[in-house]
Structures are given as C-alpha cells and as structure tokens.
Amino acid sequence: MGRELTFHIFRYDPEDPDSIPHTDIFIMEEKENMTLFIALTQIREEQDPSLQFDFCCRAGICGSCAMVINGRPGLACKTLTRELPKEITLMPLPVFKLIADLSVDTGAWFRAMNEKVGSWIHTSKKFDPSAREERMDNALAEEIYELERCVECGCCVAACGTANMREDFVGAVAMNRIARFMMDPRDERTEDEYFEVIGTDEGIFGCMGLLACEDVCPKNIPLQDQLGILRRKMGWNTVKHLFRFGSS
C-alpha cells in the first residue's frame, strides 16, 4: 500500500466566464515509480477531466511539461512522486501567459525569443547540393551539441529573478542560444552583431547573477559558464568600443 498523496493544484480557465482562480485538492494512492505524468493523467481520467496540463514525450525530451512543483520549476514527466513529500503543490510557470490551470503558452514566448536572437545560422553562402559537407572538428561539434541540448522548457526563465520582474529580459535560454551560435564557425555574425542582440540591459547586463537558471535546468546545461563567458566577451566589446570612440 503506497502513501496517500494530496495534490494542491492551481485552477483557472480564462476562457470560462464562470472560472475564478483557486486551488483544487485531489487525493490518490501513490504507486511504485509514479511520476507526476502518471499521477496527473490519472487525476484527469478518474477525478476531473477538465484539468489542463501539457505532456508530450513523457520522457524528459520535449520540454512540454514544466511547472512549479512545490515551489521549484521542473519537468513534471521526470519528477518521481517518491522524491516529493506527500503534500504536493502544483502551479503553472510564472512569466509565461496562462492558458489554463497548469498549462502556459511557451510556444509564443519562445518563437519571439528565437526571432529576437536570430536563432539560426547567418551566412552569406549558398547551399551547394553537389558539394561535400564542410569539415568540422568533432570536439567542436560536441561542444555545440552540449548547448544545443536545450529543450526550451522555460524552467530557467520561470526561476529567473530578472525575468520575473522585467518582461523584456531575454533569459538564460536566449543567452545560451547566442553562445551556441558564437561558437559555430558556420555563423558569420561578428561579435559586434551579437553585442547588438544581447549586449544590453535586456540581455547579458540584466542578469543579476542569481543563477537559479542553472539550478533548475532539467538538461543540466552549463548556463553559469555561458553567462560568465558572454558577460566577459560583451564587457570587453564595450571597452573596445569606448577605446575606439576615444581615439578617433
């Protein structure tokens, strides 16, 4: 016989005129290896079929199911109930627009972020279908992949002090994305061009260095290192500009 779990779940559907924000309580018996995916699916099927939340791959790969679990942003699909106390409070991620209950609109936020940072290879070259691929050192490919593993779940944004206070802050996810492209020789953007995107208060200089982003990242991406490297590079870039300005 498993523990009796009590779920306190935030409820509000802006599309339902009768809905007001409140907390619903659901009680269920814990099973072996139970994840929040299993628990929430069971609540929907057996207790309240209107409960809204997002799951997709249920394997920690797609980033759909981030929510605030007992005060901490995380992926619900890979959270085992046995790692939690028997009172479990689930809230939607802050910062993102609420769709309903535990479901938030990460899609629109990340599309805007990707547009803002120019999240693609900027190149003047044309693809030549008859040519062999350009060579790349495998170690570099692996370094790029390390940062490319981000699943855009939104945990780092939800946990960020600046992002919670300021709507225009791009978040660690955007900084990591820029770092990924800066490291990629196929992207022809110069340091000045990257500076244009994140060398501002909305970007790297808005970061207060609290580093909750790194603590909550479910893919363990080294965000702290990337933020440090970017801050140094962008800082030097500012100094270089001051120097050039002063000597002209």
């Binding site: 929907r44 079929p49 809204q52 309903a100 490919a141």
Partner: protein, 612 residues
C-alpha cells in the same frame, strides 16, 4: 467564425511538415503550419539514434552508396515498399543530410586514427583515415550492410527539429501552435482546407488552402504500450479516413521496437545495439546470435522483436512485477562512450528506472513504435482520392517502409520526403487556382460545432471517452501485437466493433469549455477506434507473414497472393473498413527473395515453396 486563407496548410509542424513549409515558402508561397503543440515539442524531437544516408565517409561505411541503402531498405520492408519511392529516397538522402549540416546541425564528425568498437559484446579495432577527418560520421544500425546512420549523440531528432524550426523562424513561416485540425473540408473531389479547433481558447477556425498537407506523425497511441508521445493519436490519419475517399495504406503494418524500457515504454535507441550493446536473458547470456548467426542483435526490428518474445516464451525472460522482460547491456561500451554518444539513454535510465547503464543492465521489452501505414500517397506525396491533399512523414504511406522500417530511415524520410513533396506542392500551386464554396465551408464548420454541442449536452449519450480509449488500447495490445493469429484477430475486430458503437455515444463529464482536454479526445475517439479497426481487420484479412505482420497460422511470406498493399477506406454508416489492394510496387528493381535474416519461409510468385 474566423476564416484564414493560405496557399499551403501544413497540418503538423514536426520535421516533415516544416520541411515542406520551408520548400513552399522559399518558392514564394504562403504557408501556415498547424501544430497541436509548440513545433519544437513535436515527436520528431524524440528520435534518438540517427538519420540514414549513404555518405560513406567513415571506415565502417566505406564504399557505401545509394544502391546498398536501397537494397537494405527493400529487404527491410520485406518487399512491401514502393521501390520507385525507395530509389528516390536513397538518392536524395545524402544531399538532405548535407543540407541540414549547412543549416546548422552539429553532426558528429570523423576523428582520425585507431579506436575500439564493439560487436556482439567483443572489442574490435578500426582505423579512420586522416583524409576524412572532420567529415560527417555514422554509426551502425539494424538491418544495414554499412554504418550509415548520421547522428548527433543520441539527440539526432532534437537537433534536426531545432535546426528545422530555426529555418522556419528565419523564413518567417507562420505557425499556429496549439491548433488541432478536426476535419478536412472537401467536396468529394478537391480538398480546400480544414476545420480546426484552437487549443488555447477552444474556438473553431476554418483554414482555406489551395494545398493541404497531412504531416501529423504516427498513431502509436491506439496501442497501450507504445514509445510514442501522448500526442500521437493519429489526428491526421483519422480526418483523412473520415473523408470516405482517402485510403489508409497498410494499416496492419505496425512496428514494435525491441528496446522500450520496462515499465514506462520509453525508447532507448537502436544506437545502443548499433554501438555494440547486447541483449541478455535471465541467465545474463546473449541469445540473439543463436537465432541470427549473421546479424545477431542487429537484425531488423521486426525480427529482433519476434525473437525476444520467442525467447521470453521459452521461459528465458526475467520475471518482474511488470511482466517478463530481457536485458540490454551497454556496460562494456564504457563511461566515456555512454556519456558522449548515448547521453539521453543515460539520463532516461537513471531518471525513470534508477538504473545506471554504465554499471547496470537495462530492462527492455518490445513496444509499439512506428506506423508504417498512413495516408496513402503517390510518389509525389499526393493523397489518393482528393486533389489538393498531400501527406508526408510518418503520417503518410509514401511507401518507403513496406512492412518494416529500418532504424534511421524515418528521420531521413521526414527530411527527404519534405524536400521532395515540398517541390511537388510548389509545382501544384504554380498550376492551380481554387474556388471556395462558402456553403461547403459553412456546412463543415456547423457539422463540427453540432458534434461538439452534442457531446457537451449529452444528447449523443453518456459513454466515457477515457474508458473507450483504454479498452481499445488493451484490445490492440493483447490481440494485434507482434505475433498474430486469426482467432485473436477476429476477437479484436468483434471487440472493436462494440467500442465503435459506443464511440458514437460519447458524452462529456466536464463542461467542455475552453481548451477542454476531454473534448479534444472525444472529438478523436471515433476516428481512433476506426483506425484500430483498420489495423485489426487488415491484419485479419492478410493471411501471410510479412515483415512486422507475423501470423502464427500463416507463417510463410506469400508473394504469390500477398505482394500487395492494403488500402482501407471507411464508408459512413459502416462498422468495418472497406479493404482494397494494389501491387506493392509498380517498378520492381530488386525481385523478392531472402532478406538474409529472420526465418526464410516463402511462397514465391510462381507458387514455389522456399525454406522450412
């Protein structure tokens, strides 16, 4: 009611849908992609091991070429594929991989010099040439003569999807995420778009398009134990079936992947075995080499899955609370290899099983994985039956995979088919104009609104949608699995017909307002049960064994009577699909023969009996 016009409506924004949209947008036409999730969450992201293309760069892939890839693919399909499509595919795949490299994929590259690799648990040495340093490398996969699967660690689908969506963002292609197409708008001859439900607000929208593409992935979630994402409920296939005209090709061709973890059925990549991992039984002994001396663990998925079940039936499985399973052993590959080439596997095992694959064995069992069947199209991706309707990727039966898909050929298919079908749609758009019949559009929207109202009011009945879904999944799992027989299949058809009847009378228990999830499932359930019936009934009627379709009562592959493709359509008012058949391949480049793995028992085209 909101109405949106576009040149191309892409239903689905995974790899195939987005690749088509990119091609069409680049040619100057407008495309809108609908996706039930933000596009980067599409199930394409979960593909792990690799994308097949015969680059022939690495030493274990030396002298690889499209011809070899073609032969592997046709044999893998057990001669069920369309050989013209397979030829087109293998010729285009290398260029597609290079194009993705140009767009930003950090493909793993060749490191020159000596290194150790494993086969059958034993170490061997290979030497990569200096000359090929830095070119795209590849790993071994099941059923292939060469190392051909290009990869980025074991997150290949993830990097492909992110790079593809980056391109979509760069080109400014519109994506309406959290939008689900619930029916196609057509007049019996031409498709002019779809009625969709917004999964943010619950409101209906009409999308009108000169060309409509179905790229919604597979329908694995009609099975209980599937590696598929929860969204893979066959949304695209069932709206096609609902037209009464467009057929589902080979619905009975359902792939089980050998290594789903027990009990959650999360996939661990075939790359584990490709890189030298082995399967072990209750005595922690290898067994695949006894059944398949040549290919051992790296026979095709259908063959490995069958031997695994056979071995478990011999009492050599490992007992557990979740039923018998076998072990996957990758310990000998070493920490460095696992931490760089099999990262997701390491994470999944630690997280969901509490198993460290560097020092411990992974519990595995075959689980439903891939739908070879889908919306039947010609080689241009045009759906049978309706002008202006196309399909690509897993949602389509293009038909590259026949009765068994090779690992790494699905990622490759999404990108290659996306490229090819995209070009064909561009040509179609250049030569077409559409007339929009407003009464037809209004009628389609009203019909769907009435369905919704009926489910909310309980006018249709009070059947519980989750119970019907769960019962359907159980029936398929228990009676239409890896080994099939007439008796069980008939029982499955009977049970599913009962569920089909119930699916007409679904009533919601919640109020159905907004993006209500119960309503989302309720709108699909009848179509899902019909798809399940297509699978079960087509499997019952196919009295032979081919690829993944293994009939215990008809063990031979029967090329004399069954070298064909099932085409299933659904007539309204009926409680069974209508089955028709067409030749598997109009062009036969490689004549049917022995695959080189699996049990060779064939009734040849001339009626000659070959094998045991």
């Amino acid at each position: 009611m909101e109405t949106v016009w576009t040149d191309l409506l892409c239903i689905g924004a995974g790899l195939a849908g987005e690749r088509v949209a990119i091609e069409v947008s680049t040619a100057g036409f407008q495309s809108i992609c609908l996706s039930i999730v933000p596009p980067r969450r599409s199930h394409s992201s979960a593909a792990q091991g690799g994308m097949q293309a015969s680059l022939g760069n690495c030493c274990m892939g030396e002298a690889d070429c499209p011809d070899t890839h073609f032969q592997d693919t046709v044999k893998g399909s057990d001669w069920g594929c369309d050989q013209e499509v397979a030829r087109l595919f293998v010729e285009t795949a290398p260029e597609a991989v290079r194009e993705m490299a140009f767009w930003g994929i950090p493909w793993n590259r060749i490191v020159p010099g000596k290194s150790v690799y494993f086969k059958g648990g034993k170490p061997y040495e290979k030497t990569e040439s200096e000359e090929n340093e830095g070119l795209i490398t590849a790993r071994g996969f099941g059923g292939t003569a060469k190392w051909r699967a290009c990869y980025t660690s074991d997150g290949t689908g993830h990097t492909l999807l992110y790079t593809m969506d980056n391109k979509v963002v760069e080109l400014g292609v519109t994506v309406h995420d959290r939008t689900e197409a619930i029916s196609l708008i057509h007049d019996g001859e031409t498709c002019i778009g779809a009625v969709a439900r917004c999964l943010k607000t619950g409101r209906l929208r009409a999308y009108l398009a000169r060309a409509t593409l179905i790229a919604t992935g597979g329908y694995g979630k009609i099975y209980r134990e599937s590696t598929n994402a929860v969204i893979n409920e066959g949304g695209g296939a069932l709206i096609a079936l609902d037209t009464e005209i467009v057929p589902i090709g080979n619905p009975e061709a359902v792939q089980f992947h050998p290594t789903g973890i027990v009990p959650t059925n999360i996939l661990v990549t075939e790359g584990c075995r490709g890189d030298g991992g082995t399967l072990l039984d209750v005595n922690e002994e290898r067994f695949m080499h006894e059944y398949e001396p040549e290919k051992a663990e790296l026979a095709s998925r259908d063959v490995v899955s069958r031997w695994m079940i056979h071995h478990i039936r011999r009492g050599l499985g490992v007992k557990s609370d979740h039923g018998d399973h076998l072990w996957l052993d990758i310990r000998h590959l070493g920490a460095e290899h696992i931490k760089t080439k099999l990262r997701e596997v390491e994470e999944i095992c630690n997280n969901f099983l509490g198993v460290d694959p560097i020092t411990q064995l992974i519990p595995v069992r075959p689980a439903q994985h891939y739908s070879m069947g889908g919306v039947r199209t010609d080689k241009d991706g045009a759906a049978y039956g309706l002008k202006g309707l196309f399909a690509a990727g897993e949602a389509a039966c293009w038909d590259l995979h026949g009765f068994n898909r090779l690992g790494g050929n699905s990622l490759a298919e999404t990108v290659v088919a996306g490229k090819i079908v995209g070009k064909k749609i561009v040509a179609f758009l250049q030569g077409s104009e559409s007339k929009y019949d407003t009464a037809l559009i209004k009628g389609a929207v009203i019909k769907n609104q009435e369905r919704i109202d009926g489910m909310i009011s309980g006018r249709a009945g009070h059947e519980n949608v989750f119970e019907i879904r769960n019962a359907m999944q159980d029936v398929l799992m228990e009676r239409v699995g890896i080994f099939r027989n007439g008796k069980d299949l008939q029982k499955a058809v009977d049970s599913l017909q009962g569920l089909h009847e119930k699916s007409r009378r679904v009533g919601l228990r919640s109020n159905g307002r907004g993006a209500n999830p119960e309503l989302s499932l309720a709108l699909k359930i009848q179509g899902m049960v019909r798809l399940a019936l297509c699978v079960a009934y087509a499997a019952l009627k196919r009295t032979e064994s081919r690829g993944c379709h293994a009939r215990e009562d008809f063990e031979a592959r029967n090329d004399r009577d069954w070298l064909n493709r099932t085409l299933a359509t659904w007539r309204e008012g009926s409680d069974l699909p209508t089955l028709n058949y067409e030749a598997a391949s109009k062009v036969v480049e490689l004549a049917p023969g022995d695959r080189g793995y699996g049990v060779c028992k064939i009734i040849s085209c001339d009626g000659e009996i070959i094998g045991a």
